[in-house]
Assembly symmetry: C2
Homo-oligomer: 471 residues x 2
């Protein structure tokens, strides 16, 4: 990766170098042109867009996820009310949660447009980088306009802001697109023509490929790197959202400690015990969901639209995790609200895992396009992947039903689940191997290599078959 | 980059494949071993660590920056007090800010240790990925223990927690290091020996290089990619910290709008006007500082320790930006507090930019190791880089002194600066070109190619000299 990028930059600067000289000494131009046949026109410093894209992905991921915060913090304000009303959580949160989901989808759509744009553009210059930042700024403003719309459904102002943002983003992006894709080749050609007319030398007009700055493949699936970077951003911010609250609210006030706990810091901190547990539980769950996502995308080469959509759904559910973990620890032990909070947590984990599984299944349906060749056979790696991806949905489902039955012990069951799952992941490879060995012994006791006969003739298999024939 | 990673994964899975077959049919093993001479022992699936590192970088960056939030939110609580006491901001914030800076440095040290560890480890497996997540979880807990220490200097508890975290992190990391670097080669060799004894075939014991999993270069400078990823994370979270607050606090309450503004949403929103401006200003400043950082690291190949340190300092100041931008808009127009807030903003921007400049200067001192060859000459690109990096320090210094003189207009001057700087960046290349042309005309009117004579004989220059001699 480093090498690749380095090469690009060195190339670019070779011709930067070249251009610098070229403007001052025209008779060495033809020589330099033959050394590196890169762009020779006036836009002078282009760079690989890799880091710009990574930064944009991080920004958009944070913005998409941030809208869960108002939802989470509403609960704090209604802390007192809640005790008296004993109202069901669901009815309290529905509008807020739907606003969260809608903004998440809207921001993700903006991200997808950004991805498409930069699939066309391959190299950037300074102006483009600055325009991209302006675009980012407007995208970060989208959630706010949307929450205005949700708070004031009667007013047309929120909608106006929202539309204005979307239009300006569209204008910037299409300006960039137009400027780069459509006009630039003509401009560069005409500049070259004028240059050649003016300087007068060289029969060497070798038409340098105008397809340098961009690379237009409209039906290409989403690039894997950007889906990964965006997902990483979401997972990272979700994993740390709870520590934001812990750092802010859970450092006890020295006066309170002195007055209520006789100066004993330890007993004051024990008061916050459940929240630490919630933090570690949420961090571990998000971390492990990231881990399965990471394992999944090791096998993926390209993401189709449907896979991108399922990924977005999975991320939207992941974004809800800090909220419900917080809820879990806000209610008194054994109350109906606690049970509901635990069950909502299970449902969210279930769907987050299920959509990851869906990505894998969609990938399998288009395996020629989307997966690495080695996972197509259906061997052990395949089974292992399936086990990894179905672990969370299964565990969440199990926890859900066991809390339905043993509703008094919902919180302990949930915490046991949290503690158990990481160990399950550690032992998963052993378990899968044991399970497959068992299956093999049960179903094909005579010919142990039945499952290895290639389903589709693949050239990777050929040398092995040969050696088998020889042996 | 994609290709590189793909190759690695394909390689790894080739031998995964190989291993799967190998366990079942030993007579084809020797053939397969000759196909790919990668690891043949029992730890079965290794992966490129690239994405794991990117995720870790994002997590640590968020954690490092998050501690500014308690500082920023203290001000909200003291909103009422402030009006009466007219106390100077500096005295209010010093302890909080010092806690922020200390945690930032501590987390950065943890990050640097993580970087060193993964300069040794090149490939990971699932267990390692899970251990890394556990390590991350503890690192995210560090700021909290530190703020406990700061709040209760008398109690030994905070210190105990802090030390416990550090020790456990150290244990995990050194466990990983020991396991991988020291024991693994022996384990793998002995397993291979046992395997060969047990299976009995093959004189082909070709000692597969044990230096596969790791690559130990203790004095190597920090890798550029990880410094970039960490910096990106910090810039991204800082840029969006203000929108967190805006989304939470600045959606007006429908009841208030109906009561106080006669139902006019627009006039209610105009109330928040300054905060939007603060958001856009802060986003633009952080974005442009990211932009200069990005331009700077395009020219850097490796970061020395000192450059890493300066980068950390620069990032720590950047982390302070949301705080002061918020302050700027909290005080009544023309008050002494407003002037102080604006001046603190200028100081922070000044230092953030200055440390970036320092990175560049340190890089120039070790240019053989750290910079790309093409920036060593001192030509136009060099001057342009210098102009880019010194723009923010100069502007901040100018704003600072002009607010000292025209203290009544501090806020308008500051906002003008914010609006002007992006345009300055857009026009910078033209300005630098014009400036250099002017300098050339002034100082070397006779020989226009004086500045292009190579300072140190570099082979890149040779062909051009040749062609000049020929022409």
């Amino acid at each position: 990766m480093a090498d690749n990028e380095e090469n690009e930059i060195i190339e670019h600067h070779d011709d930067e170098e070249m251009e610098r000289r070229g403007t001052q000494r025209s008779h060495s131009q033809s020589f330099l042109e033959s050394v590196t046949s890169l762009e020779n026109d006036d836009h002078n410093s282009t760079q690989s867009s890799h880091r710009l894209l990574a930064y944009s992905d991080a920004l958009i991921a944070i913005i998409a996820t941030v809208m869960i915060l108002p939802v989470a913090h509403t609960k704090f304000q209604e802390n007192e009310v809640k005790q008296e009303l004993k109202e069901s959580i669901q009815s309290l949160l529905t509008t807020k949660v739907s606003v969260y989901l809608m903004t998440f989808l809207i921001v993700t759509v903006a991200w997808a447009a950004h991805v498409r744009l930069f699939q066309v553009i391959e190299r950037i210059d300074d102006t483009l980088a600055l325009l991209n930042l302006a675009c980012m700024m407007l995208i970060t403003f989208l959630p706010y306009t949307f929450s205005l719309m949700a708070a004031f459904p009667g007013s047309v102002l929120g909608l106006t802001f929202f539309c204005a943002c979307v239009i300006v983003i569209g204008l910037i992006q299409s300006y960039v697109l137009l400027a780069i894709v459509i006009f630039l080749p003509y401009i560069s050609l005409s500049i070259k023509w004028i240059w050649n007319k003016a300087v007068g030398d060289s029969g060497q007009v070798e038409d340098t490929d105008p397809v340098l700055f961009y690379n237009y493949l409209p039906s290409e699936p989403l690039s894997k790197e950007r889906v990964e970077a965006f997902s990483d951003g979401v997972y990272a911010i979700v994993a740390t959202l709870l520590i934001l609250d812990i750092c802010e609210d859970n450092v006890p006030d020295p006066f309170v400690v002195k007055k209520e706990f006789n100066g004993s810091l330890l007993s004051a901190l024990l008061n916050y015990g459940p929240e630490y547990l919630a933090y570690f539980g949420s961090f571990a769950t998000v971390g492990l969901l990231w881990f399965t996502h990471h394992s999944l995308f090791l096998h993926v080469t390209k993401a189709t639209r449907l896979m991108g959509l399922f990924n977005t759904f999975s991320l939207a559910f992941v974004g809800g995790l800090p909220l419900v973990y917080q809820l879990t620890n806000e209610f008194p032990r054994g109350s109906r609200n606690e049970l509901e909070a635990v069950q909502i947590s299970c449902v969210i984990i279930f769907f987050a895992g299920l959509f990851q599984l869906a990505i894998w299944i969609v990938g399998l349906f288009n395996e020629r396009e989307t997966l690495h060749p080695y996972v197509r056979y259906g061997g052990r790696e395949h089974a292992f992947m399936l086990a990894k991806l179905s672990l969370y949905p299964c565990v969440a489902l199990g926890t859900f039903f066991s809390t339905c039955v043993l509703s008094r012990f919902s919180a302990p069951i949930f915490h046991m689940m949290e503690i158990g799952v990481p160990f399950a992941f550690l032992l998963l490879r052993l378990l899968v191997r044991a399970g497959l060995a068992l299956l093999r012994r049960l179903f094909c006791p005579v010919r142990p290599d039945v499952d290895r006969i290639p389903v589709e003739g693949d050239d990777l298999q050929l040398p092995i078959n040969d050696s088998r024939n020889l042996g």
